[in-house]
């Protein structure tokens, strides 16, 4: 067959968010890939320059639904560092608990999506059922299943009552047992193994060269985790491990994510049991001094970097967001060449793309002419 352009996207059942891959294929093998990321562009960076610190946090939370707390926390901790503030320990622990719960729900979602991409709908249904347990906990604590709104500059907005802590602790053993089941399943279920093993393989050198981050890089043996290398929140005080794997293919990425699920349950358990008593917020000045910072955070998908520059007013001069998915795209394009078309959804799903994070701007005009 001569070269054929198969356009995967912008609407396609394999994609959870719109992106356009123009795959130039020869039979079932991929020759080349062209990428177009513009479909979720919403104007957030420009809009953030016009809002003061109280109003900009809800905007930044809505960059993405699944990693909403990551964006808000990265920004808040960045501004706090420019202002030179140290938030109280209870606030740090509460932020860590929500962050790890978010990581858990994101990884469970990913596991279901990866199973759905290979047609294994049973695992999809089971993981999303367990995800509901995590969402119930989050809803009890923050009032919402995504976009928690827990952060403000200087601390957190809501406290955790002892009843909430007890209810969360009660749900943890169920999750731990199910995660053990998934570990067993991933290692022994034949159809999953043959679809995941050897697919989208990326060696350690390639991962380093193309700048992969997060579980995608850790599955290729790159031992890099912002929570350990540049500690923030309460991670320096809690015993936990970085999960790496050496396989480098989709199977390795699955194992890393399930390992991280396990670690997250242990971190949450430790934080809930050892929650320090202290106020949850401190007073902050209205304006931030002039300064700039690169605030890094380990979102569920990898390393998230906010570059914030302030100019002495109560607004930021510039917030530049580098999302982990954007960093991983180059490595996806590189490891998709010479694979089968049937594997595209699996490989793309393996980096856990979050396109709402990746493309962030559009322009909405408020006039009487309808949409632009």
């Amino acid at each position: 067959m001569p070269e054929v352009v198969v356009s995967i996207g912008p609407q396609h059942p394999a994609l959870k968010e719109p992106v356009n891959f123009k795959v130039i294929a020869d039979g079932e093998k991929i020759v080349r890939l062209e990428l177009d990321l513009s479909y979720n562009h919403r104007g957030i960076e420009k809009a953030a320059e016009q809002r003061n610190f109280i109003r900009v946090l809800p905007l930044l939370e809505r960059v993405c639904g699944i990693c909403s707390h990551s964006h808000a926390t990265a920004f808040a901790k960045g501004v706090e560092e420019i202002m030179g503030l140290e938030i109280p320990p209870r606030a740090r622990y509460i932020r860590t608990i929500i962050a790890e719960l978010e990581r858990m729900h994101s990884h469970l979602l990913w596991l279901g999506v990866a199973a759905h991409e290979i047609g294994f709908n049973t695992l999809f249904m089971w993981t999303w059922r367990d995800r509901e347990t995590v969402q119930d906990t989050l809803e009890e604590m923050s009032g919402n299943r995504v976009h928690y709104g827990m952060n403000e500059i200087g601390g957190v907005r809501r406290d955790l009552t002892p009843a909430q802590v007890a209810a969360a602790l009660e749900r943890l053993p169920v999750l731990e047992e199910r995660i053990r089941q998934y570990v067993g399943m991933v290692n022994s279920e034949e159809t999953m193994l043959i679809r995941f093993r050897g697919v989208g393989k990326m060696s350690r050198e390639e991962a380093l060269k193309y700048g992969a981050v997060g579980p995608t890089a850790r599955a290729s043996g790159v031992d890099y985790d912002v929570r350990r290398d540049d500690p923030y929140l309460a991670y320096a005080e809690i015993p936990w491990n970085v999960v790496t794997d050496t396989h480098g293919d989709v199977y390795g990425r699955t194992r890393v994510r399930i390992g991280e699920l396990w670690e997250s349950t242990q971190i949450v358990r430790h934080c809930l049991e050892n929650l320090p008593e202290s106020p949850i917020r401190i007073d902050t000045p209205k304006n931030a001094p002039k300064g700039e910072i690169l605030s890094r955070y380990e979102a569920p998908r990898g390393e998230l970097a906010h570059f914030i520059r302030t100019n002495g007013t109560d607004r930021v001069e510039r917030v530049d967001i580098r999302t982990p998915t954007l960093a991983n795209w180059t490595s996806v394009a590189a490891c998709l060449v010479n694979q089968n078309i049937a594997d595209i959804p699996v490989i793309v799903a393996a980096i856990d793309p979050c396109l709402s994070c990746t493309s962030r701007l559009t322009v909405a005009k408020k006039d009487d002419r309808g949409s632009r």
Partner: protein, 324 residues
Amino acid sequence: MTDPVSILVYIFIFPGFLFLAAYALFLAYLDRKIAARMQHRVGPPFFQPLADFIKMLGKEVINPAGVDWRLFDAIPLVALAAVMTAFLYVPVTGASPLSFPGDLVVVLYLMALPTMSLFLMGWLSRNIFSAIGGIRAVTQLFIYEVPFFLALLTPAIMAGSWSISEIVAWQQQNLWIVFFQPIGFIVALIGLQAKLERTPFDIPEAETEIVAGPWTELTGRRLAVMDLTLDISLVVGSALIAALFLGGPALPWTLNPAWLNSAAGFLLFLIKTLAVLLVISSIKVATGRIRIDQLNDIGWKYIASAALVQVGIVLVINYLWVAP
């Protein structure tokens, strides 16, 4: 049973057209309910497949630009007619009145027509996803048809006849064939799963890769007819396996009043087809989808060799023990 009225009743009411459609919708409901319960969900209510069928008959039919709509209308009907005709030769309450020597081969041929019609729909749809899906459907047909045919022809060799009703009669006097040919039974089940395009073999319809493959441009009444065809193939397939391996609708002894014999046979038919459905549904729930090149690998290396081994064993048994 050679007078025209009873033949017409056989063809159109029981166990022909009406009964077949009703039973197919019932088995479709059971399949979805079993899958749902295994996946920790509630599942559809029992009239759901019928409701889906009626609703889809009323939906708008969209003809893609440049496509010959008369062909698009005709091809699903051809597929439906093929599988319905195939059911006439499968014994439901005893021997089928329309059976003749060689009807096993006719049934197998008719069962392959839905896949060919899917390929045609995919090719005619003028979009790349349907074309890829259609090609995958035919590739899958080549891969699994060989072991499937071999596995279903070994009971014929053992019973010494090419007519399904006579194979059932042979099993009535001897044991069920599954005891002689367990490998063939397993290969036949796998082949049936591949013919019905269910996981792990739903490659032509791989939703997450090629939208819906050859089903993409089917809308309205054409989709209703193709869905019904697939459900009826499920019935025909399980009835075929129940007849060839599990003894079909026949007790080891004949009961005296003829109607009691038929009723008992019908009950056995229901039980055996439900058992086959249970196995097939479990396979569908418990596995993911494999790729077409992996199917090629597995199909020729393991499944076809197993079928050949089974043929060899049957020839040996035939020579040594079964009277010619």
